[in-house]
Symmetry: C2
Subunit: 142 residues, 2 copies
Amino acid sequence: MLKTVLRFGLIALALLILFQLSNVSLVIPSIPADTVIGITAVILVALGIYLGGNIKKEKVVKVEVAAPVEIDQERIQNLGISQRELEVLNLISTGLSNQEIGEKLFVSESTIKTHVSNLFVKLDVKRRTQAVTRAKEWRIIV
Amino acid sequence: MLKTVLRFGLIALALLILFQLSNVSLVIPSIPADTVIGITAVILVALGIYLGGNIKKEKVVKVEVAAPVEIDQERIQNLGISQRELEVLNLISTGLSNQEIGEKLFVSESTIKTHVSNLFVKLDVKRRTQAVTRAKEWRIIV
DNA sequence: CACGCTTTGGTACTTAAGTATGAGTGGGTT
DNA sequence: AACCCACTCATACTTAAGTACCAAAGCGTG
């Protein structure tokens, strides 16, 4: 909104300058009217490109901001998913087995199975592949 | 390249029109010089915005083309992954069980198991969760 | 037509995954 | 201190996943 006002202000300013310049050739006859008009034309086109560029830039920013996937911390809280469970969930999504996850976290496979089972209840799923899909849907993992 | 030439051509054309219009007020005195200059200024700014827009549009396209994940058909070919196997792979990634995939494709679970086993060899993995990760890495699935 | 490849299906087996249940420890709260 | 919760681990079990091997129908190519 403010930017739009600014742009119209710039255009108005440019027009004012144009009108002023149109009198230069009358005041200073040594400068030909054609030269003044040419320079003004170039300035106006440049102004247009600048304004157009800014308008398009905003659209680019919108695309880039929408792209990154942010983790929904609030949903994690609401589902009651603990830090350890989240860790396990992330490792599941990388394709590790329960045993491998256990080795990576220095706990037994038994413990991982418990975490996984609890996760399934919280995510309302029956399989680990489904858990990964659901977790990505709900922006719990990337 | 060609577009750049076109743009400069348009600018040159615009300048020509400007110079022509500057004579209109001399030819037809009923139209004030200020009006002609004003209209020309607006046209030039519009031209600038149009040109600037086109220049920026190219940049937008580059961003948008880079973002979507394209399927690497060549890699699928090289790995010798068949159409049916690809179907199964996609259903695995949605979290379905072998039995569910069989029902969805109207074939037995046995058949799905065969496809899955063959897929694992081609993807060089040992588990279905790993297969999904690998397949996404290699842009075989979305 | 023979060959290769895809798709289908089966049996039999091993292994991983998932369920159910119980239980111990330590941190933090009331 | 009593309590809750997260984390840990174990046993015993069921089910799904995965492996190995074989087999047959169909389809296009050389």
